[in-house]
Amino acid sequence: MISQKLNDQITRIGPGTSAGEVLRRYWQPAALTDELTEARPMVPVNLLGERLVLLRQSNGEFVLMTREACPDEPPAYYPESDALEVVQNGPRYPVVEMKGMYFAYMGPSAAPAFPKFDCFRAPDSHVFAFKGIWECNWLQALEVGIDPSHASFLHRFLQDEDPEDSYGKQFRDKAAHTNMPMTQVLREYPRPDIEVEETDFGLKITALRHLENDFTHVRVTNQIFPEAICIPMSREMTITQWHVPIDDENCYWYTLFTSFAKPVDKPLMREQRLKEHRLPDYAPLKNRSNDYRFDPEEQKTLTYTGMGLDINVHDQWAVESMGQIQDRTREHLGRGDAAIVRYRLMLRKAIKAVESNREGALLMRDEAAATIVGPLSNDAITATGDWKEASWEADKQRRAECPWDATV
Protein backbone atom coordinates (compact mmCIF):
# COMPACT_ATOMS: atom_id res chain seq x y z
CA MET A 1 0.00 0.00 0.00
CA ILE A 2 2.43 2.59 -1.24
CA SER A 3 1.70 5.68 -3.27
CA GLN A 4 1.90 5.66 -7.06
CA LYS A 5 5.04 7.81 -6.90
CA LEU A 6 6.79 5.35 -4.62
CA ASN A 7 5.64 2.46 -6.83
CA ASP A 8 7.05 4.25 -9.88
CA GLN A 9 10.35 4.71 -8.06
CA ILE A 10 10.92 0.95 -7.68
CA THR A 11 9.37 -0.26 -10.94
CA ARG A 12 10.17 2.11 -13.81
CA ILE A 13 13.48 1.49 -15.52
CA GLY A 14 13.96 3.90 -18.44
CA PRO A 15 17.11 6.06 -18.66
CA GLY A 16 17.30 8.45 -15.71
CA THR A 17 14.76 6.62 -13.54
CA SER A 18 15.61 5.60 -9.97
CA ALA A 19 15.42 1.81 -10.39
CA GLY A 20 16.74 2.01 -13.96
CA GLU A 21 19.92 3.70 -12.76
CA VAL A 22 20.48 0.85 -10.27
CA LEU A 23 19.90 -1.89 -12.86
CA ARG A 24 22.25 -0.16 -15.31
CA ARG A 25 25.10 -0.63 -12.84
CA TYR A 26 24.98 -4.43 -13.32
CA TRP A 27 25.50 -6.79 -16.27
CA GLN A 28 22.17 -7.50 -17.97
CA PRO A 29 21.30 -10.56 -20.07
CA ALA A 30 20.67 -9.18 -23.57
CA ALA A 31 20.25 -12.24 -25.82
CA LEU A 32 20.88 -15.98 -26.07
CA THR A 33 23.90 -17.05 -28.11
CA ASP A 34 21.47 -19.21 -30.12
CA GLU A 35 20.00 -15.99 -31.52
CA LEU A 36 23.12 -14.61 -33.21
CA THR A 37 23.89 -16.85 -36.20
CA GLU A 38 25.42 -16.60 -39.68
CA ALA A 39 21.92 -16.23 -41.05
CA ARG A 40 21.09 -13.59 -38.44
CA PRO A 41 24.29 -11.51 -37.90
CA MET A 42 22.43 -8.71 -36.12
CA VAL A 43 19.87 -9.32 -33.38
CA PRO A 44 17.31 -6.81 -32.13
CA VAL A 45 17.60 -6.27 -28.39
CA ASN A 46 14.90 -4.42 -26.48
CA LEU A 47 16.38 -3.74 -23.08
CA LEU A 48 15.77 -1.27 -20.24
CA GLY A 49 13.49 0.83 -22.40
CA GLU A 50 16.06 1.19 -25.20
CA ARG A 51 15.81 -0.17 -28.76
CA LEU A 52 19.16 -1.74 -29.53
CA VAL A 53 20.94 -4.15 -31.83
CA LEU A 54 23.51 -6.79 -30.91
CA LEU A 55 26.31 -7.35 -33.40
CA ARG A 56 29.88 -8.56 -33.65
CA GLN A 57 32.36 -5.80 -34.58
CA SER A 58 35.25 -6.25 -37.00
CA ASN A 59 37.62 -6.75 -34.05
CA GLY A 60 35.55 -9.75 -32.98
CA GLU A 61 34.05 -8.07 -29.94
CA PHE A 62 30.32 -7.90 -29.38
CA VAL A 63 28.51 -4.61 -28.81
CA LEU A 64 25.01 -3.24 -28.31
CA MET A 65 24.19 -0.17 -30.39
CA THR A 66 21.07 1.94 -30.69
CA ARG A 67 18.85 1.13 -33.68
CA GLU A 68 16.27 3.15 -35.55
CA ALA A 69 12.83 2.33 -34.16
CA CYS A 70 9.25 3.43 -34.67
CA PRO A 71 7.39 4.59 -31.57
CA ASP A 72 4.60 2.07 -32.25
CA GLU A 73 6.84 -1.00 -32.40
CA PRO A 74 5.66 -3.91 -30.24
CA PRO A 75 7.68 -4.20 -27.00
CA ALA A 76 9.52 -7.36 -28.05
CA TYR A 77 9.72 -6.40 -31.73
CA TYR A 78 12.04 -8.80 -33.55
CA PRO A 79 12.69 -7.84 -37.18
CA GLU A 80 15.12 -9.68 -39.46
CA SER A 81 18.75 -8.50 -39.58
CA ASP A 82 18.36 -6.75 -42.91
CA ALA A 83 15.58 -4.60 -41.47
CA LEU A 84 17.78 -3.31 -38.64
CA GLU A 85 19.33 0.14 -39.01
CA VAL A 86 22.06 1.13 -36.56
CA VAL A 87 22.26 4.69 -35.20
CA GLN A 88 25.97 5.37 -35.68
CA ASN A 89 26.37 8.22 -33.20
CA GLY A 90 24.37 6.55 -30.43
CA PRO A 91 25.77 4.91 -27.30
CA ARG A 92 27.77 1.67 -27.54
CA TYR A 93 27.37 -0.76 -24.73
CA PRO A 94 29.99 -3.49 -24.10
CA VAL A 95 28.85 -7.09 -24.36
CA VAL A 96 30.40 -10.37 -23.19
CA GLU A 97 29.40 -13.93 -24.00
CA MET A 98 28.89 -16.18 -20.98
CA LYS A 99 27.44 -19.70 -20.87
CA GLY A 100 25.03 -19.36 -23.74
CA MET A 101 24.04 -15.75 -23.08
CA TYR A 102 25.23 -12.31 -24.08
CA PHE A 103 25.47 -9.93 -21.13
CA ALA A 104 25.53 -6.16 -21.70
CA TYR A 105 26.67 -3.33 -19.44
CA MET A 106 24.71 -0.10 -19.89
CA GLY A 107 25.90 1.84 -16.86
CA PRO A 108 28.46 4.56 -16.14
CA SER A 109 32.12 3.99 -15.22
CA ALA A 110 33.62 0.52 -15.29
CA ALA A 111 31.46 -2.59 -15.36
CA PRO A 112 31.66 -4.76 -12.24
CA ALA A 113 33.41 -8.13 -12.27
CA PHE A 114 31.30 -11.25 -12.74
CA PRO A 115 30.93 -13.18 -9.47
CA LYS A 116 32.07 -16.82 -9.50
CA PHE A 117 28.55 -18.16 -9.21
CA ASP A 118 28.14 -21.84 -10.05
CA CYS A 119 26.35 -20.98 -13.30
CA PHE A 120 29.44 -19.08 -14.48
CA ARG A 121 32.04 -21.57 -13.13
CA ALA A 122 30.47 -24.73 -14.54
CA PRO A 123 31.81 -25.85 -17.93
CA ASP A 124 29.65 -25.07 -20.95
CA SER A 125 28.64 -28.74 -21.09
CA HIS A 126 26.90 -28.37 -17.71
CA VAL A 127 24.95 -25.17 -18.40
CA PHE A 128 21.89 -24.62 -20.59
CA ALA A 129 20.39 -21.19 -21.34
CA PHE A 130 16.84 -20.28 -22.32
CA LYS A 131 14.47 -17.30 -22.09
CA GLY A 132 10.85 -16.26 -22.40
CA ILE A 133 8.69 -13.14 -22.38
CA TRP A 134 6.32 -12.13 -19.61
CA GLU A 135 4.00 -9.21 -20.29
CA CYS A 136 4.48 -7.41 -16.98
CA ASN A 137 6.89 -5.25 -15.03
CA TRP A 138 10.18 -6.88 -14.02
CA LEU A 139 9.68 -6.31 -10.27
CA GLN A 140 6.51 -8.38 -9.88
CA ALA A 141 8.19 -11.08 -12.00
CA LEU A 142 11.10 -11.10 -9.55
CA GLU A 143 8.96 -10.93 -6.42
CA VAL A 144 7.07 -14.15 -7.19
CA GLY A 145 10.43 -15.90 -7.33
CA ILE A 146 11.45 -14.79 -3.84
CA ASP A 147 8.19 -15.83 -2.19
CA PRO A 148 8.82 -19.38 -0.91
CA SER A 149 5.15 -19.98 -0.07
CA HIS A 150 3.79 -19.52 -3.57
CA ALA A 151 5.04 -22.91 -4.79
CA SER A 152 2.68 -24.74 -2.42
CA PHE A 153 -0.33 -23.17 -4.10
CA LEU A 154 0.54 -21.96 -7.58
CA HIS A 155 2.61 -25.05 -8.43
CA ARG A 156 0.42 -27.54 -6.55
CA PHE A 157 0.13 -30.87 -8.34
CA LEU A 158 -2.78 -32.98 -7.17
CA GLN A 159 -1.03 -36.16 -8.30
CA ASP A 160 2.65 -37.04 -8.12
CA GLU A 161 4.57 -38.02 -11.25
CA ASP A 162 7.17 -40.72 -11.29
CA PRO A 163 10.36 -38.86 -10.25
CA GLU A 164 12.31 -41.02 -12.70
CA ASP A 165 10.61 -39.01 -15.45
CA SER A 166 11.63 -35.70 -13.89
CA TYR A 167 14.64 -34.68 -16.00
CA GLY A 168 14.67 -31.02 -16.92
CA LYS A 169 11.48 -30.26 -14.98
CA GLN A 170 11.04 -28.15 -11.85
CA PHE A 171 9.62 -29.67 -8.63
CA ARG A 172 9.22 -33.16 -10.17
CA ASP A 173 12.25 -34.76 -8.41
CA LYS A 174 12.32 -36.57 -5.07
CA ALA A 175 12.81 -34.35 -2.02
CA ALA A 176 16.45 -34.58 -0.94
CA HIS A 177 17.49 -38.21 -0.22
CA THR A 178 13.95 -39.44 0.51
CA ASN A 179 11.39 -41.15 -1.71
CA MET A 180 8.90 -38.35 -1.12
CA PRO A 181 8.21 -36.40 -4.34
CA MET A 182 8.75 -32.64 -4.04
CA THR A 183 5.19 -32.16 -5.26
CA GLN A 184 3.95 -34.01 -2.16
CA VAL A 185 6.08 -31.92 0.22
CA LEU A 186 4.83 -28.68 -1.31
CA ARG A 187 1.22 -29.86 -1.37
CA GLU A 188 1.02 -31.23 2.17
CA TYR A 189 3.05 -28.54 3.95
CA PRO A 190 1.91 -25.23 2.49
CA ARG A 191 2.90 -22.83 5.27
CA PRO A 192 6.69 -22.68 5.62
CA ASP A 193 8.57 -20.72 8.22
CA ILE A 194 10.71 -18.26 6.29
CA GLU A 195 14.15 -17.01 7.29
CA VAL A 196 15.88 -14.28 5.30
CA GLU A 197 19.52 -13.38 5.62
CA GLU A 198 21.52 -10.62 3.93
CA THR A 199 24.54 -11.86 2.01
CA ASP A 200 27.30 -10.28 -0.03
CA PHE A 201 25.27 -10.94 -3.21
CA GLY A 202 21.72 -10.27 -2.00
CA LEU A 203 19.51 -12.50 0.13
CA LYS A 204 19.58 -16.11 1.28
CA ILE A 205 15.98 -17.27 1.74
CA THR A 206 15.30 -20.43 3.73
CA ALA A 207 11.86 -22.05 3.79
CA LEU A 208 11.34 -24.57 6.59
CA ARG A 209 8.47 -27.04 6.24
CA HIS A 210 8.13 -29.00 9.46
CA LEU A 211 7.17 -32.58 8.63
CA GLU A 212 6.03 -35.40 10.89
CA ASN A 213 8.29 -37.10 13.46
CA ASP A 214 10.36 -33.99 14.11
CA PHE A 215 11.77 -33.81 10.60
CA THR A 216 12.04 -30.60 8.58
CA HIS A 217 12.23 -29.96 4.86
CA VAL A 218 14.75 -27.17 4.22
CA ARG A 219 14.64 -25.34 0.89
CA VAL A 220 17.26 -22.66 0.28
CA THR A 221 16.74 -20.15 -2.51
CA ASN A 222 18.52 -16.86 -3.18
CA GLN A 223 17.96 -13.37 -4.48
CA ILE A 224 20.97 -12.16 -6.44
CA PHE A 225 20.93 -8.36 -6.60
CA PRO A 226 19.50 -6.63 -8.48
CA GLU A 227 17.07 -8.84 -10.41
CA ALA A 228 18.04 -12.50 -10.35
CA ILE A 229 17.20 -15.55 -8.30
CA CYS A 230 19.06 -18.82 -7.79
CA ILE A 231 16.85 -21.78 -6.79
CA PRO A 232 17.12 -25.56 -6.78
CA MET A 233 15.40 -27.26 -9.72
CA SER A 234 16.20 -30.86 -8.80
CA ARG A 235 18.89 -32.72 -6.89
CA GLU A 236 20.97 -32.41 -10.04
CA MET A 237 20.37 -28.85 -11.19
CA THR A 238 19.90 -25.26 -10.07
CA ILE A 239 18.18 -22.45 -11.88
CA THR A 240 19.71 -18.96 -12.03
CA GLN A 241 17.08 -16.67 -13.47
CA TRP A 242 17.20 -12.96 -14.31
CA HIS A 243 14.04 -10.88 -14.80
CA VAL A 244 15.24 -8.39 -17.38
CA PRO A 245 13.11 -5.38 -18.29
CA ILE A 246 12.27 -4.88 -21.95
CA ASP A 247 10.44 -1.74 -20.87
CA ASP A 248 8.30 -0.78 -17.86
CA GLU A 249 5.53 -3.22 -18.82
CA ASN A 250 7.32 -6.23 -20.27
CA CYS A 251 10.28 -8.37 -19.34
CA TYR A 252 12.24 -11.43 -20.38
CA TRP A 253 13.21 -14.17 -17.97
CA TYR A 254 16.66 -15.49 -18.79
CA THR A 255 17.65 -18.75 -17.12
CA LEU A 256 20.92 -20.63 -16.77
CA PHE A 257 20.21 -24.26 -15.81
CA THR A 258 23.35 -25.54 -14.07
CA SER A 259 24.08 -29.23 -13.56
CA PHE A 260 26.40 -30.36 -10.78
CA ALA A 261 26.97 -33.95 -11.86
CA LYS A 262 26.24 -34.95 -15.43
CA PRO A 263 26.44 -32.74 -18.53
CA VAL A 264 23.15 -31.12 -19.45
CA ASP A 265 21.08 -32.76 -22.18
CA LYS A 266 20.73 -29.48 -24.07
CA PRO A 267 18.74 -30.78 -27.06
CA LEU A 268 16.14 -32.33 -24.75
CA MET A 269 15.87 -29.25 -22.54
CA ARG A 270 15.55 -26.94 -25.56
CA GLU A 271 12.96 -29.23 -27.15
CA GLN A 272 10.95 -29.31 -23.90
CA ARG A 273 10.89 -25.51 -23.76
CA LEU A 274 10.27 -24.89 -27.45
CA LYS A 275 7.02 -26.81 -27.07
CA GLU A 276 5.93 -23.87 -24.92
CA HIS A 277 7.55 -20.95 -26.83
CA ARG A 278 7.66 -19.59 -30.36
CA LEU A 279 10.70 -18.27 -32.18
CA PRO A 280 12.32 -15.89 -32.82
CA ASP A 281 11.06 -13.77 -29.91
CA TYR A 282 10.57 -16.61 -27.37
CA ALA A 283 7.01 -15.55 -26.64
CA PRO A 284 5.05 -18.17 -24.66
CA LEU A 285 2.39 -20.08 -26.59
CA LYS A 286 0.13 -20.05 -23.54
CA ASN A 287 -0.66 -16.45 -22.80
CA ARG A 288 -3.34 -13.93 -21.92
CA SER A 289 -4.85 -14.03 -25.42
CA ASN A 290 -5.77 -17.71 -25.09
CA ASP A 291 -6.46 -17.70 -21.31
CA TYR A 292 -3.22 -19.62 -20.82
CA ARG A 293 -5.15 -22.61 -22.26
CA PHE A 294 -6.94 -23.00 -18.96
CA ASP A 295 -8.63 -26.38 -18.62
CA PRO A 296 -11.20 -26.66 -15.82
CA GLU A 297 -11.08 -30.46 -15.95
CA GLU A 298 -7.33 -30.41 -15.39
CA GLN A 299 -7.85 -28.03 -12.47
CA LYS A 300 -10.20 -30.56 -10.84
CA THR A 301 -7.85 -33.49 -11.16
CA LEU A 302 -4.26 -32.51 -11.81
CA THR A 303 -3.04 -28.98 -11.14
CA TYR A 304 -4.03 -26.00 -9.00
CA THR A 305 -4.06 -23.64 -11.97
CA GLY A 306 -5.44 -25.90 -14.71
CA MET A 307 -2.80 -24.45 -17.00
CA GLY A 308 -0.61 -27.47 -17.64
CA LEU A 309 2.50 -28.90 -16.04
CA ASP A 310 5.01 -26.18 -16.94
CA ILE A 311 5.47 -24.12 -13.79
CA ASN A 312 6.67 -21.16 -15.86
CA VAL A 313 3.14 -20.80 -17.20
CA HIS A 314 1.73 -20.76 -13.64
CA ASP A 315 4.13 -17.97 -12.66
CA GLN A 316 3.45 -16.14 -15.91
CA TRP A 317 -0.30 -16.16 -15.30
CA ALA A 318 0.15 -15.04 -11.68
CA VAL A 319 2.37 -12.07 -12.45
CA GLU A 320 0.67 -10.98 -15.67
CA SER A 321 -2.76 -11.08 -14.05
CA MET A 322 -1.64 -8.43 -11.57
CA GLY A 323 -1.63 -5.88 -14.39
CA GLN A 324 1.29 -4.69 -16.45
CA ILE A 325 2.64 -2.74 -13.49
CA GLN A 326 1.26 -4.12 -10.23
CA ASP A 327 -0.88 -1.53 -8.43
CA ARG A 328 0.91 -1.46 -5.09
CA THR A 329 -1.41 1.27 -3.80
CA ARG A 330 -3.73 -1.66 -3.05
CA GLU A 331 -1.38 -4.38 -1.88
CA HIS A 332 -1.22 -5.72 1.68
CA LEU A 333 2.04 -7.45 2.49
CA GLY A 334 2.39 -9.50 5.65
CA ARG A 335 5.28 -10.88 7.66
CA GLY A 336 5.19 -13.97 5.42
CA ASP A 337 6.42 -11.65 2.67
CA ALA A 338 9.69 -11.23 4.57
CA ALA A 339 11.87 -11.76 1.51
CA ILE A 340 9.95 -9.21 -0.54
CA VAL A 341 10.22 -6.70 2.32
CA ARG A 342 13.97 -7.30 2.62
CA TYR A 343 14.43 -7.08 -1.16
CA ARG A 344 12.63 -3.74 -1.41
CA LEU A 345 14.81 -2.43 1.42
CA MET A 346 17.91 -3.44 -0.56
CA LEU A 347 16.56 -1.83 -3.72
CA ARG A 348 15.69 1.42 -1.93
CA LYS A 349 19.12 1.47 -0.26
CA ALA A 350 20.70 1.07 -3.69
CA ILE A 351 18.53 3.83 -5.16
CA LYS A 352 19.59 6.13 -2.32
CA ALA A 353 23.23 5.18 -2.76
CA VAL A 354 23.17 5.99 -6.48
CA GLU A 355 21.28 9.25 -5.94
CA SER A 356 23.75 10.37 -3.26
CA ASN A 357 26.84 9.29 -5.23
CA ARG A 358 27.74 6.54 -2.76
CA GLU A 359 28.47 3.86 -5.35
CA GLY A 360 30.60 2.03 -2.78
CA ALA A 361 27.46 1.09 -0.90
CA LEU A 362 26.14 -0.96 -3.85
CA LEU A 363 26.40 -4.74 -3.64
CA MET A 364 28.86 -6.57 -5.94
CA ARG A 365 30.29 -3.43 -7.51
CA ASP A 366 33.83 -3.71 -6.09
CA GLU A 367 36.68 -6.13 -6.84
CA ALA A 368 35.45 -8.46 -4.11
CA ALA A 369 32.55 -9.41 -6.39
CA ALA A 370 34.91 -11.64 -8.35
CA THR A 371 35.54 -13.75 -5.23
CA ILE A 372 31.89 -14.52 -4.48
CA VAL A 373 31.13 -18.23 -4.91
CA GLY A 374 28.03 -20.39 -4.61
CA PRO A 375 25.33 -19.71 -3.72
CA LEU A 376 24.04 -22.60 -1.66
CA SER A 377 20.75 -23.60 -3.24
CA ASN A 378 19.23 -26.95 -2.37
CA ASP A 379 16.55 -29.05 -0.71
CA ALA A 380 17.28 -31.17 2.35
CA ILE A 381 15.24 -33.18 4.84
CA THR A 382 16.70 -33.44 8.29
CA ALA A 383 16.02 -33.68 11.99
CA THR A 384 14.43 -30.37 12.94
CA GLY A 385 17.21 -29.32 15.33
CA ASP A 386 19.98 -29.76 12.74
CA TRP A 387 18.49 -28.13 9.68
CA LYS A 388 21.16 -25.51 9.15
CA GLU A 389 24.02 -27.98 9.38
CA ALA A 390 22.17 -30.51 7.21
CA SER A 391 21.66 -27.96 4.46
CA TRP A 392 25.38 -27.13 4.47
CA GLU A 393 26.30 -30.83 4.47
CA ALA A 394 24.01 -31.58 1.52
CA ASP A 395 25.58 -28.73 -0.41
CA LYS A 396 29.09 -29.82 0.55
CA GLN A 397 28.43 -33.37 -0.58
CA ARG A 398 27.01 -32.30 -3.94
CA ARG A 399 30.00 -30.06 -4.55
CA ALA A 400 32.47 -32.77 -3.50
CA GLU A 401 30.96 -35.21 -6.02
CA CYS A 402 30.90 -32.60 -8.78
CA PRO A 403 33.30 -33.23 -11.73
CA TRP A 404 34.00 -29.52 -12.16
CA ASP A 405 35.44 -27.21 -9.50
CA ALA A 406 32.44 -26.23 -7.41
CA THR A 407 34.35 -25.76 -4.17
CA VAL A 408 33.26 -22.91 -1.91
Partner: protein, 244 residues
Protein backbone atom coordinates in the same frame (compact mmCIF):
# COMPACT_ATOMS: atom_id res chain seq x y z
CA UNK B 1 43.78 5.88 34.10
CA UNK B 2 41.02 3.39 34.91
CA UNK B 3 38.27 3.60 32.34
CA UNK B 4 35.91 0.95 33.69
CA UNK B 5 35.64 -0.52 37.16
CA UNK B 6 33.29 -3.23 38.43
CA UNK B 7 31.18 -0.47 39.95
CA UNK B 8 30.58 0.99 36.51
CA UNK B 9 29.30 -2.19 34.87
CA UNK B 10 25.72 -3.40 35.04
CA UNK B 11 25.06 -6.79 33.42
CA UNK B 12 21.75 -7.05 31.60
CA UNK B 13 19.58 -9.77 30.14
CA UNK B 14 18.46 -9.30 26.54
CA UNK B 15 19.60 -9.92 22.98
CA UNK B 16 20.26 -8.35 19.61
CA UNK B 17 17.45 -9.24 17.23
CA UNK B 18 15.93 -8.85 13.77
CA UNK B 19 12.23 -8.86 12.97
CA UNK B 20 9.59 -7.58 10.60
CA UNK B 21 7.57 -4.64 11.90
CA UNK B 22 3.96 -4.95 10.72
CA UNK B 23 2.62 -2.42 8.29
CA UNK B 24 -0.84 -0.82 8.09
CA UNK B 25 -1.30 -0.30 11.86
CA UNK B 26 -0.31 3.05 13.40
CA UNK B 27 3.47 2.95 13.83
CA UNK B 28 3.15 3.21 17.61
CA UNK B 29 0.88 0.12 17.65
CA UNK B 30 3.18 -1.90 15.39
CA UNK B 31 6.12 -1.09 17.66
CA UNK B 32 4.12 -1.95 20.78
CA UNK B 33 3.26 -5.34 19.28
CA UNK B 34 6.88 -5.93 18.31
CA UNK B 35 8.02 -5.12 21.86
CA UNK B 36 5.44 -7.53 23.25
CA UNK B 37 6.12 -10.28 20.68
CA UNK B 38 9.82 -10.24 21.45
CA UNK B 39 9.22 -10.19 25.22
CA UNK B 40 11.27 -7.04 25.75
CA UNK B 41 10.80 -4.34 28.36
CA UNK B 42 12.80 -1.91 26.21
CA UNK B 43 14.39 -1.99 22.77
CA UNK B 44 16.37 0.12 20.34
CA UNK B 45 15.62 -0.39 16.67
CA UNK B 46 16.74 1.06 13.37
CA UNK B 47 14.29 1.55 10.54
CA UNK B 48 15.49 2.37 7.02
CA UNK B 49 13.77 3.37 3.78
CA UNK B 50 10.27 2.51 4.99
CA UNK B 51 7.26 3.90 3.08
CA UNK B 52 4.40 5.29 5.15
CA UNK B 53 0.89 6.59 4.58
CA UNK B 54 -1.31 9.09 6.35
CA UNK B 55 -4.99 8.53 5.72
CA UNK B 56 -7.13 11.56 6.46
CA UNK B 57 -9.98 10.96 8.90
CA UNK B 58 -9.08 7.34 9.70
CA UNK B 59 -9.38 6.60 13.42
CA UNK B 60 -6.28 5.13 15.03
CA UNK B 61 -8.05 1.91 15.92
CA UNK B 62 -9.76 1.54 12.54
CA UNK B 63 -8.56 -1.12 10.11
CA UNK B 64 -6.77 0.07 7.03
CA UNK B 65 -9.23 0.28 4.11
CA UNK B 66 -8.86 -1.99 1.11
CA UNK B 67 -9.23 0.90 -1.29
CA UNK B 68 -7.49 4.15 -0.55
CA UNK B 69 -9.13 7.28 -1.81
CA UNK B 70 -7.22 10.06 -0.09
CA UNK B 71 -3.72 9.39 1.08
CA UNK B 72 -0.60 11.33 1.90
CA UNK B 73 2.40 9.12 1.60
CA UNK B 74 6.05 9.40 2.28
CA UNK B 75 9.27 7.62 3.05
CA UNK B 76 11.14 7.24 6.29
CA UNK B 77 14.76 7.70 5.27
CA UNK B 78 16.05 6.48 8.64
CA UNK B 79 14.93 6.26 12.24
CA UNK B 80 16.74 5.23 15.40
CA UNK B 81 14.06 4.51 17.98
CA UNK B 82 13.80 3.57 21.62
CA UNK B 83 10.61 1.95 22.88
CA UNK B 84 10.05 0.89 26.47
CA UNK B 85 7.04 -0.37 28.34
CA UNK B 86 5.61 1.56 31.28
CA UNK B 87 2.74 0.80 33.63
CA UNK B 88 0.58 2.98 31.40
CA UNK B 89 1.65 1.48 28.06
CA UNK B 90 4.71 2.32 26.00
CA UNK B 91 7.00 5.30 25.54
CA UNK B 92 8.53 5.99 22.15
CA UNK B 93 11.49 8.28 21.52
CA UNK B 94 14.08 8.74 18.85
CA UNK B 95 15.39 10.63 15.88
CA UNK B 96 15.19 10.28 12.14
CA UNK B 97 14.46 11.88 8.83
CA UNK B 98 11.51 11.45 6.49
CA UNK B 99 9.81 13.05 3.53
CA UNK B 100 6.19 13.43 2.51
CA UNK B 101 5.85 12.71 -1.20
CA UNK B 102 2.38 14.09 -1.75
CA UNK B 103 2.18 17.11 0.55
CA UNK B 104 4.30 19.94 1.87
CA UNK B 105 4.03 19.00 5.52
CA UNK B 106 7.30 19.80 7.25
CA UNK B 107 6.70 18.90 10.87
CA UNK B 108 9.83 18.23 12.91
CA UNK B 109 7.93 15.77 15.11
CA UNK B 110 6.92 12.55 13.35
CA UNK B 111 3.31 11.66 14.17
CA UNK B 112 3.47 8.11 15.52
CA UNK B 113 -0.12 7.57 14.44
CA UNK B 114 1.16 7.37 10.86
CA UNK B 115 0.96 3.89 9.38
CA UNK B 116 3.73 2.08 7.54
CA UNK B 117 2.78 1.37 3.93
CA UNK B 118 4.51 -2.02 4.03
CA UNK B 119 5.91 -4.24 6.77
CA UNK B 120 9.45 -3.07 7.53
CA UNK B 121 12.61 -4.93 8.46
CA UNK B 122 14.13 -3.81 11.75
CA UNK B 123 17.34 -4.71 13.57
CA UNK B 124 18.17 -3.74 17.13
CA UNK B 125 18.84 -4.66 20.73
CA UNK B 126 16.22 -5.54 23.32
CA UNK B 127 16.23 -5.77 27.10
CA UNK B 128 14.26 -8.55 28.79
CA UNK B 129 11.70 -7.85 31.53
CA UNK B 130 13.25 -7.40 34.96
CA UNK B 131 16.58 -6.60 33.38
CA UNK B 132 17.46 -4.54 36.45
CA UNK B 133 17.43 -7.70 38.54
CA UNK B 134 19.76 -9.64 36.28
CA UNK B 135 20.87 -12.90 37.86
CA UNK B 136 24.53 -12.35 38.55
CA UNK B 137 25.01 -16.05 39.20
CA UNK B 138 24.43 -16.59 35.50
CA UNK B 139 27.80 -16.97 33.82
CA UNK B 140 26.60 -15.59 30.49
CA UNK B 141 26.13 -11.88 30.04
CA UNK B 142 24.60 -10.88 26.70
CA UNK B 143 24.44 -7.12 27.36
CA UNK B 144 25.84 -4.57 29.78
CA UNK B 145 25.43 -0.91 30.65
CA UNK B 146 28.66 0.92 31.35
CA UNK B 147 29.56 4.08 33.18
CA UNK B 148 33.22 4.94 32.54
CA UNK B 149 35.18 6.58 35.34
CA UNK B 150 37.44 8.43 32.95
CA UNK B 151 36.05 11.59 31.41
CA UNK B 152 35.12 11.31 27.72
CA UNK B 153 36.84 8.07 26.76
CA UNK B 154 36.68 6.96 23.14
CA UNK B 155 34.39 4.14 22.08
CA UNK B 156 37.35 1.88 21.42
CA UNK B 157 38.76 2.54 24.91
CA UNK B 158 35.39 1.76 26.48
CA UNK B 159 34.93 -1.39 24.47
CA UNK B 160 38.38 -2.81 25.17
CA UNK B 161 38.22 -2.07 28.86
CA UNK B 162 34.67 -3.36 29.29
CA UNK B 163 35.25 -6.54 27.33
CA UNK B 164 38.22 -7.24 29.58
CA UNK B 165 36.17 -6.67 32.73
CA UNK B 166 33.28 -8.79 31.52
CA UNK B 167 35.51 -11.68 30.45
CA UNK B 168 34.23 -11.51 26.88
CA UNK B 169 36.29 -12.16 23.78
CA UNK B 170 34.61 -9.42 21.76
CA UNK B 171 31.87 -6.84 22.09
CA UNK B 172 30.20 -3.95 20.33
CA UNK B 173 29.45 -0.76 22.18
CA UNK B 174 27.10 2.13 21.57
CA UNK B 175 26.99 5.51 23.28
CA UNK B 176 23.74 6.47 25.07
CA UNK B 177 22.19 9.84 25.66
CA UNK B 178 19.04 11.00 27.48
CA UNK B 179 16.00 10.72 25.25
CA UNK B 180 13.47 13.39 24.38
CA UNK B 181 10.01 11.96 23.97
CA UNK B 182 8.64 11.62 20.46
CA UNK B 183 10.35 11.01 17.14
CA UNK B 184 12.29 14.13 16.23
CA UNK B 185 13.76 15.11 12.91
CA UNK B 186 17.51 14.93 12.66
CA UNK B 187 19.01 15.81 9.30
CA UNK B 188 22.49 15.92 7.93
CA UNK B 189 23.82 12.81 9.65
CA UNK B 190 25.79 10.16 7.80
CA UNK B 191 23.38 7.22 7.65
CA UNK B 192 26.32 4.88 7.03
CA UNK B 193 27.22 5.33 10.69
CA UNK B 194 23.69 4.66 11.94
CA UNK B 195 23.74 1.87 14.57
CA UNK B 196 22.22 -1.46 13.43
CA UNK B 197 21.84 -0.21 9.86
CA UNK B 198 24.47 -2.31 8.08
CA UNK B 199 24.51 -1.49 4.40
CA UNK B 200 27.57 -3.42 3.21
CA UNK B 201 29.43 -0.15 2.81
CA UNK B 202 32.39 -1.58 4.66
CA UNK B 203 32.03 0.95 7.45
CA UNK B 204 31.08 -0.04 10.96
CA UNK B 205 28.60 1.96 12.95
CA UNK B 206 30.40 4.67 14.84
CA UNK B 207 30.70 4.07 18.58
CA UNK B 208 29.45 7.47 19.57
CA UNK B 209 28.71 9.50 16.46
CA UNK B 210 25.08 8.54 16.75
CA UNK B 211 24.17 7.83 20.40
CA UNK B 212 21.21 5.63 21.28
CA UNK B 213 18.39 7.35 23.18
CA UNK B 214 18.42 6.26 26.84
CA UNK B 215 15.25 5.40 28.78
CA UNK B 216 14.95 7.65 31.77
CA UNK B 217 13.50 5.01 34.06
CA UNK B 218 16.71 2.98 33.99
CA UNK B 219 19.68 3.97 36.09
CA UNK B 220 21.94 6.35 34.19
CA UNK B 221 24.54 4.72 31.99
CA UNK B 222 26.70 6.10 29.26
CA UNK B 223 27.28 3.08 27.03
CA UNK B 224 25.53 -0.12 25.94
CA UNK B 225 27.78 -3.11 25.29
CA UNK B 226 26.66 -6.17 23.30
CA UNK B 227 28.42 -9.51 23.67
CA UNK B 228 29.98 -10.56 20.36
CA UNK B 229 32.19 -13.36 21.71
CA UNK B 230 32.53 -16.05 19.04
CA UNK B 231 32.30 -18.93 21.53
CA UNK B 232 28.98 -17.91 23.10
CA UNK B 233 26.21 -20.49 23.35
CA UNK B 234 23.56 -18.22 21.84
CA UNK B 235 24.57 -18.71 18.21
CA UNK B 236 21.65 -16.85 16.69
CA UNK B 237 22.24 -13.84 18.94
CA UNK B 238 25.89 -13.84 17.93
CA UNK B 239 25.02 -13.84 14.23
CA UNK B 240 22.81 -10.79 14.72
CA UNK B 241 25.33 -9.10 17.04
CA UNK B 242 27.92 -9.28 14.30
CA UNK B 243 25.54 -7.46 11.94
CA UNK B 244 24.75 -4.60 14.36
Amino acid sequence: MTIISDMGIRRMEGRPFEDILDGYFPLRESIRQLLQRQGFSAMWITLLHAPFMQIGGLAEDAPVPLHLRKIYSGMIDHMLLLAFSTPDGMVLAGTGDWIFVDSREENDLFPDSIRLGEPAFVRGVGLIEDCNTFDEENDFTPLAFLQPEAPSPSGDEVRLSAVHHLGWQAGKCFALKPADLGIRRQVGRDVQTLPFGSDHSGREASWDDWPLPMPGHLRPADWLLVNASPDQVRRESLEVALRL
